[in-house]
Amino acid sequence: MNSWFGNALTRAEAIDDWLHEKRAASLALLRDTDWPTRQTEAWKYTSLKKLEQLDFSDGSPAPVIDVSPISGLNSINLVFIDGVLQSIPADLPEGLTIMPLAQVPDEHQPWVLDQFAGVKPQQHLFGLINDTLATNGLVIDVAPQVDLKHPIHITQTMTAGNEAHCRTLVRVGAGARVTVIEHLAGNQESFNTSFTEYSLATKAELEHYRLALQSDAALTIGGSHFNLDTQATLNSTIVGYGSDLARIDVDISHQGEGTLAKLDAIYLLDKQTHFDLHSNIEHTAPNGTSDERVRGIVADKARAVFNGRIHIHRYAQKTSAELNNRNLLLSRDAEVDVKPELEIYADDVSCAHGATIAEIDQLALYYLRSRGIGLEQAHLMLNFGFINELIDQIPNAVLADWLRQQLSGRFTRMNEIKHSGQEATQ
């Protein structure tokens, strides 16, 4: 056992709050779990060495972090800095209740206890760690039939030399509609885990974003987990930049009949960043539909890992599930490791998955250049086009514009790195 893990267990023992029973159960599981190595299937391509070597002892004073809201989004903003919730807006719309995890009123405690560690599968090591350590977080309750116009925007950021564990629980009532944006930002040397558990009641609709925009030295491990009841709809978009260690687990469980889940993911990696996305879609009830599209651009010395599993249980007949993963590998030192998995136990289903890894299509490049577009511009156009297809389908136009801007900034950065690299070799 490494010192970080041992230390985490010790800290977990000291926590005693109203979630104690839940935490104790997870702690017991955790004690029986081995620290992952390269032989551990779920961590085959992702090394935890950076976390094991984590040392914040020479902490320099933390610079102030700017967490300005996305302009024009008109969202309900909740900001965590180093795991500490700054404030909860006073005038929340009717039907929406937001409370800090540490202060859940008695009348809400039963369902929170039920949902805490109840949506997220047990086998996630860091999910268990988060169960035991997350004293900070949010509980969001959307009453049935409420149609929330304003997105809920949760920003989490870390200052140098800090570690934080956050847990968010969201309950979407029957027929309610809501947008939740989980936004992780910052690039300072830190470590955070952030797990969110969603439960969607009958005919509930959730528009979900996980903007994993932490980068560089910000180590981050987390997950978004969803339970879908009858005819619930989920439309989720994930964007990842990767950092020294970044890992996201997404679990979608189709528990009611006739559910629909759409999951789009984009990752854009450069420098020596690492990004690991594990998605797991469980169809346990009939007539479910899931559609997953994952696009990645991997440059420099970066490494992308994608594991997409679709599991169709025996009684989930008439399921339609599709997974498509496409990767652009732009550099000789970069690496892409993907594993799309299908596990199917029902016969009347239609399932498919596909995965490709390649560089930019030379013919497409030639086409653009033959029309007088410079090489660099052509590259940029094709790269951007590759992911823009998914951005275009983001339902929230303001957010889509904002993301487009962010991603172009990222492309500029990629280009700069490429040029400085070329100069160095010349």
């Binding site: 000789r332 690496e335 892409v336 490791d337 594993k339 299908l342 199917i344 136990y345 498919a352 490709t356």
Partner: protein, 478 residues
């Protein structure tokens, strides 16, 4: 009908032909002494014994692998006898009259010639039979061409320099648990050497080698195609094998030197166990090919037997422009479990690989494709195309896909596609409307589903494989 055939096969195995106690069978158990005895009986040189002992030493330290999507009770390696001398003529049934008529009916359906039927059923084939002359003419023809085709035991004695050079060069003795076990205790297998520039005049088949009949549960096959040579090797047989062994852990190594081509076809139909999943062969096989410059290796397999199949014929595409191909049909029924696929490791420039895998699961079986495509940084301009399709027949079975794709070269292109579906009602309806009954229709659809793979098989094999699927699927519909 299927019931009857199933019964026939089951009865056959239950009754067995093993009642007689043979004097030259080892006590169950495995240790250094057993290996030394085995090596001594076979009259092996010291280097071979040392090699076996080293393999055994590493096997003892290895954990049993559990990553495959299969479920079986623990194998007691100390309860297995590791050497059994070939059965004498006296122990065998004297003629086909002593064989279960239902089994013979199956052979008949497959259109297997009488002589072959006798060999399969384990009938002691008299020396005056045609087979010997076939074997003799065949040996002479090969000799003329300079091709060496013999048992690996003979090769160890007669061509030690070749064996020493290539044995374990593709599948090292420490490669995996079952390969290490095989390296320690392998009893026999085939050895093929095709000299430079020679095109092997005929398809080599284990069928032609009489001594192959009784090779034990640990076969070792080594095929070496020297520069510019060409060979096609057929393994196994499409009819049910009456092999009572529980564990079958074989190793096959192929070496394709510069510009050489090897085509390796397998039709495997070992005893799959009964309806409840009792008995049956555990088939844990390691097959791998090393492809040098411009070489081409093609694996084609039709897997319908064994209680458990754990098999990943692989290609290491080391040389530039080398080509690896994998065509597979795996059919599982009853409570069979198959975890099979391939590995394509691209090292050389412009290497190409194609993977076509068709899995069919019926009844309560589970069928998994597990594959790895790896593009190393040196694999400039490499190309892979993978397609794995699954067909489900019945709602109690499972079909799974676990492809691993790792790319470290931007100029390499990797494509993977997988689909899962059932035989659609529309297709069935269309056939029935045209007077084809549902059973025939399913068999037709399945045959079409597998066509891409079947067309890779040598002619007679393809016909038999088609029929084999038909027989296996009987009773699965409706």
């Amino acid at each position: 009908m299927t019931d009857q055939i199933e019964k026939a096969i089951t009865r056959e195995y239950e009754a067995g032909f093993t009642s007689s106690i043979e004097s030259n069978t080892f006590e169950p158990g495995l240790n250094e002494e057993v290996i030394a005895r085995l090596s001594a009986i076979k009259g092996e040189p010291q280097w071979m014994l040392d090699w076996r002992l080293k393999a055994f030493a590493s096997w003892k330290k290895m954990p049993e692998p559990h990553w495959a999507h299969i479920d079986y009770s623990k194998i007691d390696f100390q309860a297995i006898s590791y050497y059994s001398s070939p059965k004498s003529m006296d122990d065998k049934p004297k003629s086909l009259d002593e064989i279960d008529p239902e089994l013979l009916a199956t052979y008949e359906k497959l259109g297997i010639p009488l002589m072959e039927q006798q060999m399969l059923a384990g009938v002691a084939v008299d020396a005056v039979f045609d087979s010997v002359s076939v074997v003799t003419t065949f040996r002479e023809k090969l000799k003329e061409a300079g091709v060496i085709f013999c048992s690996i035991s003979e090769a160890i004695k007669e061509y030690p320099e070749l064996v020493q050079k290539y044995l374990g060069s593709v599948v090292p003795r420490t490669d995996n648990y079952y390969a290490a076990l095989n390296s320690a205790v392998f009893t026999d297998g085939s050895f093929v050497y095709v000299p430079k520039g020679v095109r092997c005049p005929m398809e080599l088949s284990t069928y032609f080698r009489i001594n192959e009949q009784n090779t034990g549960q640990f076969e070792r096959t080594l095929v070496i195609a020297d520069e510019g040579s060409h060979v096609s090797y057929l393994e196994g047989c499409s009819a049910p094998q009456r092999d009572e062994n529980q564990l079958h852990a074989a190793v096959v190594e192929l070496v394709a030197l510069d510009d050489a081509q090897i085509k390796y076809s397998t039709v495997q139909n070992w005893y799959p166990g009964d309806e409840q999943g009792r008995g049956g062969i555990y088939n844990f096989v390691t097959k791998r090919a090393m492809c040098h410059k411009n070489a081409k290796v093609s694996w084609t397999q039709v897997e319908t037997g064994s209680a458990i199949t754990w098999k990943y014929p692989s290609c290491i595409l080391r040389g530039d422009n080398s080509v690896g191909e994998f065509y597979s049909v795996a059919l599982t029924r009853g409570r069979q479990q198959a975890d099979t696929g391939t590995k394509m490791i691209h090292l050389g420039k412009n290497t190409r690989s194609t993977i076509i895998s068709k899995g069919i699961s019926a009844a309560q079986s589970n069928n998994s494709y597990r594959g790895l495509v790896k593009m190393m940084p040196t694999a400039e301009g490499a190309r892979n195309y993978t397609q794995c399709d699954s067909l489900l027949i019945g709602d109690q079975c499972g079909a799974h896909t676990f492809p691993y794709i790792e790319s470290r070269n931007p100029s390499a292109i990797v494509e993977h596609e997988a689909t899962t579906s059932k035989v659609s009602d529309d297709q069935l309806f269309l056939c029935q409307q045209r007077g084809i009954n549902s059973e025939k229709a399913v068999s037709m659809i399945v045959n079409g589903f597998c066509k891409e793979v079947f067309k890779q098989l040598p002619m007679e094999f393809a016909v038999e494989a088609g029929k084999l699927l038909e027989i296996s699927l009987e009773g699965s519909v409706g």
